[in-house]
Amino acid sequence: MVRTKSLLASIVAGAMLSVCVSAASAAETLRLRMNGDINTLDPIATTNFTIRNAAYLMYDTLFSMDANYEVQPQMAEGYTLSDDGLTYTITLRDGLKFHDGTPVTAADAVASLERWGKADGLGKTLFAKMASIAAPDDKTIVLKMNEPWGQVIPAIGKISSNIPVIMPAGMAANDPTDPVVTPIGSGPYKLVPEEWVPGSIAVFEKFEDYKPRSEPASMAAGGKVAHFDRVELVYIPDTATAVDALIAGEIDWIEEVPSDMIAFFDGVDSAKPIAARQSGNSMQLVVNHLNPPFDNPKIRKALQWSVEQTPFLQAAYGNATERYLECAAVFFCDTPYASDAGTEAVLTRDLDKAKALLEEGGYDGTPVLLMHVTDIPAHDAYYSVLKPMLEEAGFVVEEQITDWATVATRRASKEPVADGGWNLFFTGWGFVDQSNPMTNVYVAGACGDGWFGWACSEELQELRKKFADEMDPDVKKQLAEQMQVLTHDLVSYVPLGQSFPSQGIAANLEGFIESPVPFFWNVRRTQ
């Protein structure tokens, strides 16, 4: 009994001790829960968004996008463009250092860009159009193009995966598919490798030698001021636990609070959910153009008329109407290239038209395979909505219950369905990737070389090329609109609306930057 008492006393003492310890360290430590886990810190080797988000803590970029979607110098002091529009001379800022203390040189930047240019889609286009890239001295990068191209600086300043981060030349010598094992960056926080436990935690410390720009922070651009000594990316797989931990003050931020957990914050002072419109996502139904029945354009159109967005959005977000938006704009709604051209068939459900098109297209009852993913709640809900919609329109549906890993593998197959191929799958894309006609995968029309689904259109390829070369913003907008009309006509995919996930934020934090990518410089604790 005496022993039991002393054990209890020790546990209570431990409790008090740890409360004191956490109160003491809370002021300097920012604890974040991203949607995924940190398995690598090489944002060139993967397009994974969690890795991208973490990479922004520890790496810096030559240029970066500001809140007006314009690209500004970041590590670069600035650049000049020759009169013939071919030669870009980029100068590095003074005092840039890597986390191992070595200075950042132009040679490091060139090697980093070359590695990025082997992995990233836009990077590949840039390098294909480039005559040469060199570092004549430690501070100067000279980039020569074969022909003038308006996308050079926007490409080097792109905000989402793969971000063209600058790493030491030695690291950048790694093959782009081979992740760097001991990553070194030059950003405001540096990784603490000995405290990194994949599947659990990644720890970063403030990099004292980082020199922020003097301009105020604006999206990815401007001064990146680190206000914490330590940033911990804590991987908490169970979302309910993560929300409880936020409310109890054990963590400071959650990337996404599911709709059904928003109510957890009622009457809570310690944390709040904030709907972040800029970090919007969109959900899409991707259509395989190689396999019957959707190799037939009429039957693809029938699919488009068979579905409508609202039931999907309600299934995923319930009555939280502020968290979603019906939107059929290929480049997202509320963006520079947003348009409603050619969206009628996407937004309207018309079973008569669908049935007529099925008949016209000679639909012979070929079953449509639905690979019903159950381990991602939103996908699970979407498949449950889609099946009856298709059946009502007259499609024969064969459903297979599976998980995301299986679908992610199977979608790469160009084989017939019976040999491991597929017909349809749901996926989601973020705002930054979709809003840019150069990175939106559905408007490429690149046939067998394109993204899954392999929609094929020489006209779309031509339009994208024109868009890349065009400098006039008004003409660019027209070109984007034409791309949208063609994409919907081709039924590369069926857009199923836009959503605005809520982040969960500790009430005592301020300074969050409005951005589609979560950034943590500038953030500070008020008390």
Binding site: S161, A245, A248
Partner: protein, 313 residues
């Protein structure tokens, strides 16, 4: 005794070989390609193919098995395809939280269950017995995640006595570790205690009806001495067996608890590895579990000697 131990350990070798072949086949039968998951959504087929080559996934399965088995014999379980870190290191990082969780749970369980089982047997069919068995049924029937969330809500979110989640390693101090493990251990112990209380009760009832107990009572010994020294000691063998096997089950079965309380243990490592098709980790962890089970069974067998003199020699 030494010959017995060596014999048991040698018998484990073919078991390992079978487990190795079985788990390798099973893991490679799963649909899903780790290279695709690693490459990310935006990757093109060439990038995926390069990753497959780097991971030797383009080789025939039998060649892959040869590479893996050869390395495993040298205690090299390969590198995780997900994090590129050695599997042995990943397992080593995760042993402490899982073992501590299992040990603390076991201690709490024994402290709750054995006295309850003894009391239930002593007052068999009385009110105390019925209340204790009702508790046992309740504990056994409630899923651990329900108990877990309830404990978190009351003791962490509302009362703030314990943390909602996470694990403090032993290097932060034993008290900090115990503090971080209290809620998960209690959640697990409630389920586990129900089982052990029932076994203790049944075993004690049998011992209490034995002649030697009657003799002890006739000699005028006190109730406590009869119950604990005479009856409980001979009732110990089945209880120890259940505790031993239970410990192995705990180590392998703490996945839900580790997820609910965000404890970076082996259970979570296993589940994460399966969803990511991280073949080397899944294989390594299962081999590790097999070794642990064999070892625990051996220890349980050896511990019988403490309770049953016939086992000695």
């Amino acid at each position: 005794m030494l010959r017995y131990i060596v014999g048991r350990l040698l018998a484990a070798v073919p078991i390992f070989a079978l487990v190795g072949i079985f788990i390798f086949s099973l893991v490679h039968l799963m649909p899903g390609d780790p290279a695709v998951l690693l490459a990310g959504d935006n990757a093109n087929p060439k990038q995926v193919e390069k990753i497959r080559e780097r991971l030797h996934l383009d080789q025939p399965v039998i060649v892959q098995f040869g590479i893996w088995a050869g390395n495993a014999l040298q205690l090299d379980l390969g590198d995780s395809v997900y994090s590129n870190q050695p599997v042995t290191k990943l397992i080593a990082q995760r042993i402490e939280p899982t073992m501590m969780l299992a040990v603390v749970t076991l201690v709490i369980t024994v402290l709750i269950a054995v006295p309850l089982g003894v009391i239930a047997a002593w007052r068999a069919n009385g009110l105390a017995d019925r209340l204790i068995m009702a508790f046992a049924v309740l504990g056994f029937s409630l899923p651990v995640f329900v108990i877990g969330y309830l404990l978190v809500y009351v003791f962490a979110v509302r009362l703030k006595w314990f943390p909602v989640q996470g694990y403090k390693p032993l290097e932060d101090g034993v008290l900090a570790t115990l503090h971080s493990l209290t809620l998960p251990s209690v959640a697990l112990a409630l389920v586990f205690a129900a089982l052990i209380a029932r076994v203790t009760r049944a075993s004690m009832l049998e011992a209490l009806n034995e002649n030697y107990t009657r003799t002890a009572r006739a000699k005028g010994l006190g109730t406590f001495r009869i119950l604990v020294v005479h009856a409980l000691k001979s009732a110990g063998v089945p209880v120890i067996t259940v505790i031993g096997i239970g410990f192995a089950t705990l180590v392998g079965g703490v996945v839900v608890t580790e997820s609910v309380f965000n404890i970076p243990g082996i259970g979570r490592l296993t589940v994460d590895a399966i969803t990511r098709r991280d073949y080397p980790v899944v294989q390594g962890v299962i081999l590790f579990f097999s070794a642990l089970l064999i070892l625990i069974n051996l220890l349980v067998d050896l511990s019988y000697a403490l309770f049953d003199p016939r086992v000695k020699g």
